[in-house]
């Protein structure tokens, strides 16, 4: 019998707020968290706003000096501890087999790296500066989290650009469904750094105005930061311990464009492959999908490609299924985007309401899908699909399933 993979905890930090209740409420109400950048001086850039997490508190780390850790590590801490508190799997300790920890990131502790590099260019450096490197390497944040949680074992850290978080959840999902593991902490994170802001600026990919995915006048993305983590658990195990099941991960598909390092294949073949694979993996038809959470960056190339791929996969159902991108509200969280969007998509399923695709005003004939420009009540949705596509041509699609009545 196929093992099912339940979501028993979710944690999220984004520009919409710290914690699931605030993120859920604001996303479903269509409120934007985009604001002028304060983490560094953005005055010299054409784009000057992003989805910053406002007033991020320093977590109460037990094992580390909080002020020496990277902002990314703090983001990951908040999301992970919230998810675990909701799930409660460690009430009696982790047991003989620790949970699998699978996390995606694209830049890890880059802010710490920037500070170190700036210091050595300016002043040279001595051993006293080594602490700046303590949290630079992009797998360090996960190791610090595991140490704080007393979780033994080796983490799996994916760096698949903007598909990192979705691939982390997908990998954990597969590992549980196959019977290799029973419990996993999976998600993704990325902080906002000037390095990345300048990078996307150099590629002319940042919008100086609003992020407006699928709109005819879209002109680029708006960066964000954040983290989201899910506690994934074999469903029978979760039910046996009386855990509340929030929903399920039902399918996962992955592919690669093999086309270009920073541009998607305009034909969308890789995106189609990922979506078709995920639907087949979940054993559902496209017509059963009640909502598509698009990658929807707001760049001309991505959105046209993604819309074409959705149309090809969903056929006539593409005229009916609502599609929205939540990036105009959160900004593009890069390595954390897939996880942030999985949590928001699960929230949409649970609440029976679709978050709007903000700033969508003028339809684009090159994007032939039904964009949910305003939030929609859609009670009774069973399945939703979430896309994540990244640099290097990497594509990931998750199929999420609502909890059944008996699970609640």
């Amino acid at each position: 019998m196929t093992r099912r993979v339940a979501v028993t905890g979710m944690g999220i930090v984004s520009a919409l707020g710290i914690g699931l209740p605030e993120n859920r409420a604001r996303a479903l109400a269509g409120q934007s968290g985009i604001r002028p950048v304060t983490l560094f001086s953005a005055g010299r850039y054409r784009a000057r706003q992003a989805g910053e997490v406002e007033s991020l508190p320093l977590p109460p780390w037990r094992r580390f000096r909080a002020e020496r850790l990277d902002r990314g590590t703090h983001l990951l801490y908040h999301a992970s501890f919230e998810a675990l508190a909701q799930s409660g799997p460690a009430a009696g300790g982790w047991g003989a087999v620790p949970p699998m920890v699978v996390i995606g990131t694209s830049i890890g502790g880059m802010i710490s790296g920037e500070r170190y590099h700036e210091r050595i260019l300016r002043d040279g450096s001595g051993p006293g500066d080594a602490w700046m490197l303590f949290d630079y390497l992009p797998h360090s944040q996960v190791l610090h989290l595991m140490a704080e949680l007393d979780i033994a074992g080796a983490p799996v850290v994916f760096a698949d650009a903007c598909a990192s978080g979705a691939n982390a959840i997908g990998h954990a999902f597969r590992s549980i469904r196959s019977g290799e593991r029973d419990l996993a902490l999976a998600g993704g994170y990325d902080p906002l750094s000037e390095f990345v802001f300048a990078g996307f600026n150099s590629l002319q990919a940042l919008s100086p105005g609003l992020c407006r995915p699928f709109d005819r006048d879209r002109d680029g993305l708006v960066l964000g930061e954040g983290a989201a983590v899910m506690v994934l658990e074999e469903r029978g195990r979760a039910l046996a311990r009386g855990a509340r099941i929030l929903g399920e991960i039902a399918g996962y598909g992955e592919s690669c464009d093999a086309f270009h390092m920073t541009r998607p294949d305009p034909e969308g073949r890789g995106a189609m492959d990922a979506m078709r694979m995920a639907l087949a993996d979940a054993g559902v038809n496209a017509a059963a999908v009640g909502y598509v959470n698009a990658h929807g960056t707001g760049t001309p190339f991505n959105d046209a490609m993604e819309a074409k791929a959705i149309r090809a996969v969903f056929g006539a159902h593409a005229d009916r299924v609502p599609v929205s991108s939540t990036k105009p509200m959160t900004g593009h969280v890069l390595g954390g985007a897939g996880a942030v969007e999985a949590v928001l998509t699960m929230s949409a399923l649970r609440e029976g309401r679709i978050p709007p695709n903000l700033n969508f005003e003028t339809p684009d004939p090159a994007c032939p899908v039904r964009i949910a420009a305003v939030g929609e009540d859609r009670p009774g949705m069973e399945f939703a699909l979430s896309n994540s596509f990244g640099f290097g041509g990497t594509n990931a699609t998750l199929i999420l399933r609502a909890a059944s009545g008996e699970d609640e």
């Binding site: 303590f134 007393d150 597969r174 592919s255 290097g392």
Partner: protein, 348 residues
Amino acid sequence: MTGISVRGIGVLTPCAQGREAFSRTLAEGLRVAAPGDFSIPEGELDRHLSGAGRFRRAASATRYALAAAAMAVADAGISPGEVAGDRTGLIVSVTHGALGYTTQFHEGLLKEGPQGASPLFFSESVLNAPAGNVSIALGIRGPVHTILGEEAAGIQAIELAAALLRSFAVDRCFVVGTEERGEIVGRVYGELERSSGLDAAFPPGEGSACLLLVRDDPAADGGKGALLFPEVGSMGRSSGSGAEEDLARVIGGALARAGLAVKDVAHVVLPTGHHRGLARRVLDRYLGAAPRRIDLGALVGNARGAAGVLQTAASACALSFAEGAGLALCTGIEGTAAAVAVRPAMRG
């Protein structure tokens, strides 16, 4: 458990390039001409890099990966076209990746402002740039991932590839470990090591190794080649056991997966990173003095994210001159441990 078979090997190291030269170097125990200089020799890269012009501006870590992958395809005796498509996967392991381009991009930003920040340096500095470029070069449209970590990341990559093969998600999977060195790399790790108080690893090395893996199918390859059985764990991070006990468990796990007894192990490829003293103690206690020790770090330095794949390639190559099975062991500065049991595929 289904064995995972090595169909092709590509190796680009400071001491030898290509499977044959690498095997010969391991067998003869040759040292590099200038010990301590663990850089890829000038001119060697382009000789092994097909379509070099197309990727001439890519970062060194990417170019090394491209060269190793091309060598693995050639070693497997197949054409590049045969690996294109969605039934092929690619898993790349790195620690810091293109740190040279990363620092050049940042230096341009600091000194000249946004106009000094090169889009090339940015796009080629992302951690999955080696994976993206190898997938483009070979037309790989199946699962493509980059795994981050220290020396054990390469064995984690092998483990992920094995899972994809066993689940029939792919028919073949490339595993590439790649890393580049430079002044900033030495400086960063030097400071990290001084502050950690750990025993020193070998000096930073660079290069790449690639394994082309398939499900074990004696009918397809005549039962030749190497079978891999990876095991990944950690050392000293659980409250119930010590680092030595944990490392012994990882070694035992790999051997058990391979169906091997301690007496079957004829060679061990030693870690190139930290905790080498610990690893030697555990190996002496667990395997005794008999297995031949291959100290790869003395030949190639510590190529961090590339180390696990490089060590596994070394063990697979060693099957040609050391009777019996082998073991590659990785220990990372962060306390991750991984082992791969490598045994000949020859039946009967």
